[in-house]
Amino acid sequence: MIRLDKLTKIFETPNGPVVAADKVSMEVPKGEICILLGPSGCGKTTALKMINRLIPLTSGRILIDGQDTAKLNDVELRRNIGYVIQQIGLFPNMTIEENICVVPKLLGWDMKKARKRAAELLDLVALDPNHFLRRYPKELSGGQQQRVGVIRALAADPPVMLMDEPFGAIDPINREVIQDEFLKMQSELKKTIMFVSHDIDEAVKMGDKIAIFRAGKIEQYDSPDNVLAHPANRFVADFVGADRTLKRLRLISAGEVADAAAPVIGAHGKASEAAAMMREHGAAVAVVTDADHHPVGYVRIEEAEGSGAAAGEIAHPLPATVAAGADLRAVVSEMFAHDTMWLACVDETGRFAGTVTQPAVTRALGETYRQAQAA
């Protein structure tokens, strides 16, 4: 857990004092990612660097796991905090292995253990240790260097990580991949992370909580969904953008809004039986599945009604299916692409998991507003 208590930083400059952090108070629960988000110059980096004391604080307190860090010396504190910067900062004179082993070595680990750890970590980010351990940073692509930058910070298994726009320097496609990789790692490692970003999409994707900064002050500290759905003020609303509701689509998965009770029938089942189910459920279509319960088509109520055929015989091919894990943005995008109001949703094994309809998507997005009104 990281707790900031009235953290303040005033830079004395020739043009007078600059307040870069103004009584910032917040708490990041253990195992969560908190995104410090805001426009350039709002004090995100300053807030972050006060935690590992690269910038000395003017006033306030920083507690890690309940302990006031003022009692620790700089070096001790820093060796227990993973630190990742936008420029990556791999040491060009050291091999990848040496880079990863920097902190373990500083902590006096046995070199054998440190080397083993380096290899494990490379494996974790899908870089072959045999190939990469002896390489130098300049021999790696930007994305590979960024991955090494992250695992280097993880080398000594610190409970807390500070990341300053860690994926800011890579191209958008690679960035998505690395973000996904990192989230997967985090779901196992459960580090407590402060993560600076200026990109609302990244914040929504990566954050358990988002702290929106303006001029050294926190404007809102909330879950991504609440920041998007209920911006605290005009500044936050403008910052998250007019399309903030669309951004919320990314926060909900298809599986969450899929109607698992939607009518479904085996290919050999009777069409009239499907019609009965549709009537009962108030649905216009029923999904037809094969023997493995994989969706293979659908039948319409008006065609199934009174038909003596098997469902498989009068079925239309499905326009598309979506994975249960896909977010609603992908779902809506598929719906628009195929000009359809509904999609069949499948689980990891390709089995039918329900149907997602446009009204259900709309309802899911509106839920939070109804709750707010009721309260």
């Binding site: 690269l54 820093r78 630190y83 910067i85 420029q87 900062g89 040491f91 050291m94 500083l106 130098y136």
Partner: protein, 240 residues
């Protein structure tokens, strides 16, 4: 700068070779051989001067460069470097002459003059090389919990080493090129054969001094080049 170095590198062996042909053909070889004892004695003297003044310049220049690059020196370092830069514009012959006015004649003023002339490029390159180490590397190192001396040793110096070496190489080239002048202030060395040869219009004597000096220059440059290639870590060595 790079280009001229390359040119001299190519020109020196070629010229030496051509000279060798001509010397052999004209019977000068015998004349040179007549000075063999002098050559051995003076070469040794010459090499001692080069090694002592060059070595001292490295031993002093690198620490001074490091010291000037420390954050605590930030305010003064640029002024010191400006003084040093003005110093480099003084011709080495003048440095030697000034050294004589201070220390008289003999080994000491020769040593001192050569030391001063070689010092400047080493200090300048060490300082510039260390300042050129990207700030984010130092920040990453600090953020990971390295202490300042460890950062200097494991991050800053390795990353500046190539530039430091270039300074040493330049310094030694200047040093070897200037050492014959030491004779003029009684410092001995192969300059004795060269300058006396010129005075007496004795080509054999002149060459008995000039050829070893040329060979020494080539050897020293080769050795520093090789150590630059081998000692600078692979990740920060443009030669590898």
């Amino acid at each position: 700068m790079r280009k001229t170095l390359d040119l001299t590198k190519a020109a020196v062996p070629l010229a030496t070779f051509a000279l060798g042909l001509w010397v052999a053909a004209s019977g000068l070889l015998d004349q040179i051989a007549a000075y063999w004892e002098d050559i051995v004695y003076l070469t040794e003297q010459h090499m001692v001067l080069v090694a002592a003044s060059g070595g001292a310049a490295i031993l002093v220049g690198i620490p001074v460069g490091i010291w000037l690059s420390r954050p605590s020196m930030e305010r003064y370092a640029e002024y010191v470097m400006q003084v040093f830069n003005i110093g480099t514009t003084i011709p080495t012959l003048a440095v030697i002459a000034l050294s004589m006015t201070l220390l008289g004649i003999g080994f000491a003023p020769a040593f001192f003059g050569l030391f001063v002339a070689s010092l400047l490029p080493i200090v300048r390159n060490t300082y510039a090389g260390l300042l050129a180490v990207p700030a984010h590397l130092k920040e990453a190192a600090t953020g990971m919990g390295m202490r300042p001396l460890v950062i200097l040793w494991r991050v800053e110096l390795p990353n500046a080493l190539y530039v430091v070496f270039s300074g040493v190489r330049t310094a030694l080239a200047i040093n070897v090129g200037t050492t014959p002048l030491a004779f003029l202030i009684g410092g001995g060395g192969l300059g004795e054969l060269i300058f006396t040869g010129i005075d007496l219009m004795d080509t054999g004597m002149l060459l008995a001094g000039a050829v070893p000096v040329a060979m020494l220059a080539v050897t020293v440059d080769f050795l520093t080049g090789q150590s630059q290639l081998r000692l600078v870590p692979k990740g920060v060595n443009p030669l590898r």
